[in-house]
């Protein structure tokens, strides 16, 4: 009976979150096959560590954290994060005016440093608040806010996207 409940809950989690976990994984590693492997591995570890899930409401964050750790373990090994001091102005040089806005935006998102892209993905796709993102990424809330601001400022330099206007009363 207990096993059936566990299986049923596990299946619900897989169906509810595999899509958004895949997209999170994709934007972490930027490789489709690796992204699927990460999702598979995440659920394997979730199944193995099922007892660690005390609160069903925390399941989503729990899965995101497992995936993030798995990505760090599999693809980075040495360092978990990258240098924050990046010249965002340089990003614009990698873009080209393609026919599709979405492709163009994806190129820009891909060109963002991962430390800026990741909180953006967690906020826009995961629906997390700055405080929740800080917890998942194990950084301060202030750092999350800075990265989100810089990410958006960089993306707004895309052709067709209005640049932030100068404000008089700074």
């Amino acid at each position: 009976m207990l096993i059936e409940t566990k299986k049923s809950k596990f299946e619900s989690l897989v169906r509810a979150y595999s899509t958004e976990l895949y997209r999170y994984a994709y934007w972490l590693c930027r490789e489709r096959f690796q992204a699927e492997d990460l999702v598979q591995e995440t659920f394997t570890r979730a199944w193995q560590a099922w007892e660690g899930l005390r609160d069903d409401k925390a399941a989503k964050s729990w899965l995101y954290t497992i995936l993030r750790n798995e990505h760090a373990r599999s693809f980075e090994r040495k360092r978990f994060d990258i240098d924050e001091v990046v010249d965002l102005d340089g990003i614009i040089d990698h873009t080209s005016a393609g026919p599709h806005e979405e492709i163009e935006m994806r190129q820009m998102l891909g060109a963002l440093p991962r430390s800026y892209r990741e909180p953006l993905v967690l906020q826009v796709l995961g629906g997390y608040s700055c405080a929740e993102i800080a917890k998942i990424m194990e950084i301060s809330e202030g750092a999350v806010m800075t990265r989100l601001t810089r990410a958006r400022l960089a993306l707004r330099k895309l052709p067709g996207v209005a640049a932030p206007r100068k404000v008089k009363n700074l």
Binding site: S8, E11, S18, E20, R23, Q40, R106, P164, L170
Partner: protein
């Protein structure tokens, strides 16, 4: 709050609107204009981040864990995936309506019926679909008629129909297999949940709208799919 502070918060999280921000917006045309720009910008970012997901990913995960349901269900799922794939390729890109704002769950509030409905679909619907005991066409037609909605006919099948626990049993939970994919419809008679809203949460889109003597909530995996299904109901 001055413009700088307003814009700093806007760039940090465009979904959040504090009372202070609202007050600033009321008196600042420039920031109001920027806010509208940011809404369109966020929609572009959202669309771009939603990279295509491999077909039947969840099934492959479950297969690996050997907890898949019986073969019959697998065939039904495969058939629906093939149908959804065909239509999905055509309807992949979701344009935002010019006159309809798409809100996030955080902006709308987690207690709003549309947000609750998305959570209900994600958490409970797989189990409900498994337990479905059949559909009484007379009762179902009456439920649609009560709200003045059409029961979609051509190309649409009803996968599930029963009382809806989230409406206290007064409403109905309907799962439709439409030409645009699987769509959930919550019929809510005799209750009003305010103005029409469109909300996106966890890769699902919901439209909640008043209609007749109550309202309905449509939930699907894209804005286009809920809108197309909505047209079938009218």
């Amino acid at each position: 709050m001055n413009c700088f502070e307003f814009r700093k918060l806007l760039l940090t999280d465009p979904r959040v609107r504090t009372p202070e921000q609202e007050r600033h917006l009321a008196g600042c045309d420039a920031c109001e204009s920027l806010t509208h720009e940011m809404e369109a910008f966020e929609a572009r970012v959202h669309d771009a981040l939603r990279v295509p997901v491999p077909e039947a990913l969840a099934d492959r995960v479950l297969l690996r864990h050997k907890i898949r349901a019986p073969a019959l269900r697998a065939w039904a799922l495969a058939a629906s995936l093939v149908a959804a794939l065909g239509v999905g390729i055509y309807f992949y890109r979701v344009p935002l309506g010019e006159h309809e704002r798409v809100l996030t769950a955080a902006a709308l509030g987690t207690n709003h019926p549309a947000v609750t409905a998305i959570a209900h679909v994600l958490h409970d619907e797989p189990r409900m679909l498994k337990e479905n005991r059949g559909v009484d066409p007379v009762v179902m037609r009456a439920a649609f008629m009560r709200l003045g909605l059409n029961l979609p006919a051509n190309g649409t099948t009803v996968l599930y129909f029963d009382k809806c626990p989230m409406t206290g049993g007064a409403g109905n939970h309907v799962v439709l297999q439409t030409p645009f994919g699987q769509v959930t419809l919550i019929l809510v008679p005799d209750q009003s949940f305010g103005a029409r809203v469109v909300v996106v949460d966890r890769d699902m889109t919901a439209i909640a709208a008043p209609h007749g003597a109550g309202g309905y909530i449509l939930i699907a995996d894209s804005l286009r799919n809920v809108r197309q299904t909505e047209k079938l109901l009218m």
